[in-house]
């Protein structure tokens, strides 16, 4: 098992190297001059040219890329932000925790609501509960997050005054953003749980378990859900990994200082080091989440564990 984990960690390295190359290339060919954007539109042409020289922006692509990779690999240095002059790693350290908190709470909301509803829908297929929950799922997937966010804010903050509308200091602040962002995930997980459960419920071994006289709860939770979990974990894992990339719209509406906003602001400013560093960290986080999901499979299903060598 440890060997498997080790192999997976090593495999991450070429993936991350590929990510740095792709992002660097994309930033290089994107129109827009970082010097002009960082210095502001009042800056003189001489000042812009001087800045470009100082930052090495006039060097050829491979020279710039080589310089970046040298700093990264030899010194673990993600560079300094063009606009704020702060080390990129500090900027990311400041905002990534907020995104992790938001992603975690959204997933929790999605799982706590989605899995039970999915299970009940599967057990009571074609019942009124099933119809309603599928309709809600469709609504959840279709509703744009910014629209839902503003609607919830108007209701719970303005009309009722129960919850704060922006900021990120207290647990109460997490509720509206988590619900807005989690709505789509709830829908996906509900549907995934339902379809996965339906596949499993009609299996012969479930009939056998019932025939053996086991309590229905045990049949559903231990035997059916246990076998239905794999696709649900896959889906949840992908969702969580995506959320870690920063939910820009949610962060903007609720003024959450997360990595999504940092990325968008940095791209607008052509703050290459911050974009590069941010994408690298997000790619790393996504890879780790994937690894953890694969390890979770092994925990849930011994047949899979046996395959991990």
């Amino acid at each position: 098992m440890l060997k498997y984990v080790g192999k997976r960690l090593l495999m991450m390295i070429p993936v991350l190297l590929g990510v740095t190359f792709i992002i660097f290339s994309m930033l290089y060919i994107t129109p827009g001059d970082p010097a002009r954007l960082v210095l502001g539109d009042s800056a003189s042409p001489e000042a812009v040219e001087q800045y470009r020289e100082e930052q090495g922006l006039n060097d050829p692509f491979l020279v710039q890329y080589g310089r970046y990779m040298k700093n990264l690999i030899l010194h673990g240095d993600l560079g300094t932000s063009y606009s704020t002059k702060k080390p990129v790693i500090d900027l990311i350290k400041d905002c990534f925790p907020a995104t992790v908190k938001l992603a975690f709470c959204s997933m929790l909301f999605a799982l706590v609501l989605g899995i039970p509803i999915g299970i009940i829908s599967a057990i009571k297929q074609y019942s009124i509960f099933d119809m309603c929950s599928m309709a809600f799922a469709l609504l959840g997937i279709s509703m744009p997050v910014f629209w839902l966010g503003l609607l919830l804010t108007l209701l719970f903050s303005v009309k009722l005054g129960w919850l704060p509308s922006s900021g990120f200091n207290t647990p109460l602040h997490l509720i509206l953003p988590a619900v807005s962002l989690g709505a789509q995930s709830v829908a996906v997980i509900t549907r995934m749980t339902r379809s996965s459960m339906l596949e499993v419920i009609n299996m012969d071994y479930i009939k056998t378990a019932r025939a053996k006289g086991l309590h229905e709860k045990t049949v559903i939770i231990r035997h059916a859900l246990g076998n239905a979990l794999i696709p649900i974990i896959t889906s949840a894992g992908l969702q969580f990994g995506t959320l870690l990339g920063g939910a820009v719209l949610t962060e903007s509406i609720f003024s959450i200082p997360g990595i999504g906003r940092l990325m968008v602001d940095s791209i607008k400013m052509r703050d290459f080091p911050t974009v590069q560093g941010g994408v690298l960290i997000i790619a790393l986080a996504f890879s780790i989440v994937n690894l953890l999901v694969d390890l979770l499979y092994a925990f849930v299903d011994p047949r899979i564990k046996a395959q991990y060598k």
Binding site: T30, P31, G32, D33, A35, R36, L37, V38, L39, G40, D41, S42, A43, S44, P45, E46, A47, V48, E49, Q50, Y51, T80, S83, T84, K85, K86, L91, D94, C95, L150, T153, L154, S157, V158, G161, W162, P164, S165, S166, G167, F168, L172, S252, I253, F254, S255, P257, G258, R261, L262, D265, K268, M269, R270
Partner: protein, 511 residues
């Protein structure tokens, strides 16, 4: 769940809910409020005065630092860190007497050497060189601890107004040298408020400087909260989450106005939004064709439709609150027949294509859409190209545009800043702010003359002539002047917005 279990659950839920909501209620303040929470649309980039030039950063700088002088809109100079100043007869040498006993937030005394250091930094900085670039960096003299003098490389009457800009804030030399780039995140100034903390994209906290040399602020604390969505800023203001919100959007203005607990504070600012033709490209290189477009556009109707009463239709290149703005200029006459005549005389064919490039700001796209339909009536076929800001600047730098919709702000209280960089031939032909690629000997002459003359009726006459000449040449279609729209609690007093986009908050108090 059994019925008993359900009842227990419901009671427990009700009790917890009551406790939760009960603890959220805020007890009424019995003393006058002495803290201010302000909602701002974007985070500051740096609090180092010379590192950046944007209003969000300047909003913080304006509370933490002092400048040598303050300059009113009509050009009146009030001493601040400087007790007095002199300008030599040739207009090149400036000598300042510095106030004694002023302390930085770390307790060090302000000396003339700090002033020299700060201004030298401003001259060398890429971000603010457009305001301070005329300073001769080798000319600084500090004969004693409270006197500093320096020379300009060329005469510039507008220079003194620039010294009131946050770029000329006075910083402690020793601290800046020690901190380097870090100074922008941990600033020290002499101002009425001290920096406490900065959580990126979230909050910036300041506290009162009890040793301030000037009038002690009534507020003990200012907190800036970064709330990017305009609607959310208005919501936070309504719900009491903030005491003041900058940049209230047009959609929210009536909500704030109709709320008796809130007030709306407005002032036309120094920003001009315009459509700049590429004056080097046919047929836009013909002033008659450009005039024809101006006649074909009803800019008043466009502004009313898009801005709904915020700001005002622009009549010329100098905004209304800037010194020497020509009050006789009115928004361009709307005359479709005249437009058609001029176009026909210039040989412009029916179906002439015009690509208007703009960035993603919704108001600009909306204005371009109305322009498109109005120009159709005179046979001009407009295509609207929406580009991201960096890409738009790139296109303008490569001089590929037909016409570009942008804005320009006069950042000091002097008209030179409104016109020189955007119309002088010097800025043409390279990466810069002459978005219209415009060049005119007469305009150049007037710009240079206006810059070097001392304030007087003659100078005013030069700027009047300049504005008339630019309107006649029509390199721009003048669209609108912006407006500062700030919402605040009704009992907040002492706030005077400036036309620059950043505002002093230290005179604010609550009744």
């Amino acid at each position: 769940m059994s019925r008993k279990g359900l009842m227990r659950f419901l009671i427990a839920a009700a009790v917890s809910a009551t406790a939760l909501f009960g603890s959220m209620s805020v007890s009424a303040a019995e003393t006058t409020q002495d803290t201010l929470t302000v909602a701002m649309g974007s985070d500051a980039t740096s609090i180092d005065p010379v590192a950046v030039c944007n209003v969000y950063s300047s909003n913080i700088m304006a509370q933490i630092y002092d400048t040598l002088i303050d300059v009113a809109e009509d050009g009146t100079v009030t001493p601040r860190l400087a007790e007095s100043y002199e300008v030599s007869d040739d207009g090149l040498t400036y000598t300042f007497k510095i106030r004694q006993g002023v302390k930085f937030h770390n307790g060090d005394e302000l000396k003339a050497s700090d002033v020299a250091y700060s201004l030298k930094r401003a001259q060398a900085s890429a971000a603010v060189a457009h305001i301070f670039g005329d300073i001769d960096p080798d000319s600084f003299e500090v004969p004693d601890d409270y006197t500093v003098s320096f020379k300009l490389q060329q005469q510039n009457t507008g220079f003194i107004a620039g010294l009131a800009n946050t770029g000329a804030s006075i910083v402690p030399e020793a601290v800046v040298e020690a901190e380097g780039d870090n100074f922008g995140s941990n600033p020290i100034g002499t101002g009425p408020f001290k920096f406490v903390s900065w959580t990126k994209n979230d909050t910036i906290e300041l506290e009162r400087n009890d040793d301030y040399f000037g009038e002690e602020p009534a507020l003990s604390k200012i907190t800036f909260r970064i709330i990017t969505e305009a609607t959310n800023r208005a919501i936070e203001l309504e719900s009491g989450g903030v005491d003041m919100a900058f940049d209230i959007s047009t959609n929210d203005i009536s909500r704030v106005e109709d709320n008796s607990n809130l007030q709306l504070i407005r002032k036309v600012d120094n920003q001009t939004t315009f459509l700049a033709f590429n004056c080097e490209k046919e047929p836009w290189n013909n002033p008659d064709v450009r005039q024809a477009i101006s006649y074909a556009l009803d800019t008043t109707a466009i502004c009313n439709a898009v801005w709904r009463g915020v700001g005002a239709p622009a009549a010329g290149p100098i905004a209304p609150n800037v010194k020497y703005h020509d009050n006789d200029l009115t928004p361009h006459e709307y005359n479709v027949e005249k437009a058609k005549e001029l176009l026909a005389a210039a040989g412009v064919q029916e179906g002439q294509k015009l690509v208007i490039s703009t960035n993603e700001r919704q108001e600009r796209i909306d204005m371009a859409t109305i322009i498109q339909s109005q120009l159709k009536e005179v046979g001009i076929d407009v295509e609207i190209e929406v580009l991201e800001w960096g890409a738009l600047l790139d296109k303008a730098d490569r001089r590929e545009q037909d016409a570009i919709m942008v804005g320009w702000t006069c950042q000091t209280a002097d008209p030179d800043m409104a016109v020189y960089a955007v119309f002088h031939t010097q800025s043409n032909g390279q990466v810069g702010n002459n978005y219209a690629n415009f060049s005119s000997e007469k305009v150049d002459e007037l710009l240079e003359k206006g810059r070097s003359m001392p304030d007087s009726d003659d100078r005013e006459a030069v700027y009047k002539e300049l504005q008339e000449e630019i309107v006649a040449e029509a390199p721009w279609v003048f669209l609108n002047n912006g407006e500062v729209v700030v919402g605040a609690k009704a009992n907040m007093k002492g706030f005077e917005p400036t036309a620059f986009g950043y505002h002093p908050l230290y005179n604010i108090y609550f009744e």
